[in-house]
Symmetry: C2
Subunit: 85 residues, 2 copies
């Protein structure tokens, strides 16, 4: 079966506090980067998935996000790209 | 000044151990996702940056990665997208 590289973005849901992003924005300001208005920090996951097609690999990755990778209460996820095959 | 949304991917450098990715791959296997060959986990950062142009915002984000956001010893970063303005 061909192998696909699936990129996933998992980010804190909009409207929820993102203390890590707040800390990074404050640190950037302290370093003199005054142009930063906001920072939000999530996870970037790259999975190597074997599948019949790019669509199958994407469906597998979506199931993995639902079951393990993303917290459905506090996070949103997006399959950013499916490459290879 | 217009505001740009800059997406950054920071990933463990290729060839370095990624224990978090290994743990996720093992957990996915335990859940029955046998098609996953590998998982690598990095950070997805979205910055809201004020700048004269998209190029200026990208240059600012690159400087931030060099100075604070990425560990130059163990991580690679990539400015994935600059949107808005």
């Amino acid at each position: 079966m061909p192998r696909f590289s699936v990129s996933i973005h998992i980010v804190p849901r909009k409207g929820l506090l993102d203390p890590q992003g707040k800390a990074v924005a404050d640190a950037l300001h302290a370093l003199g980067f005054a142009t930063v208005a906001d920072a939000r920090i999530g996870r970037h996951i790259v999975l190597e998935v074997d599948g019949e097609s790019a669509e199958a690999a994407r469906a597998q990755a979506t199931a993995m996000c639902d079951k393990l990778l993303a917290n459905p209460v506090t996070e949103d996820y997006e399959i950013a790209a499916v490459a290879g095959g």
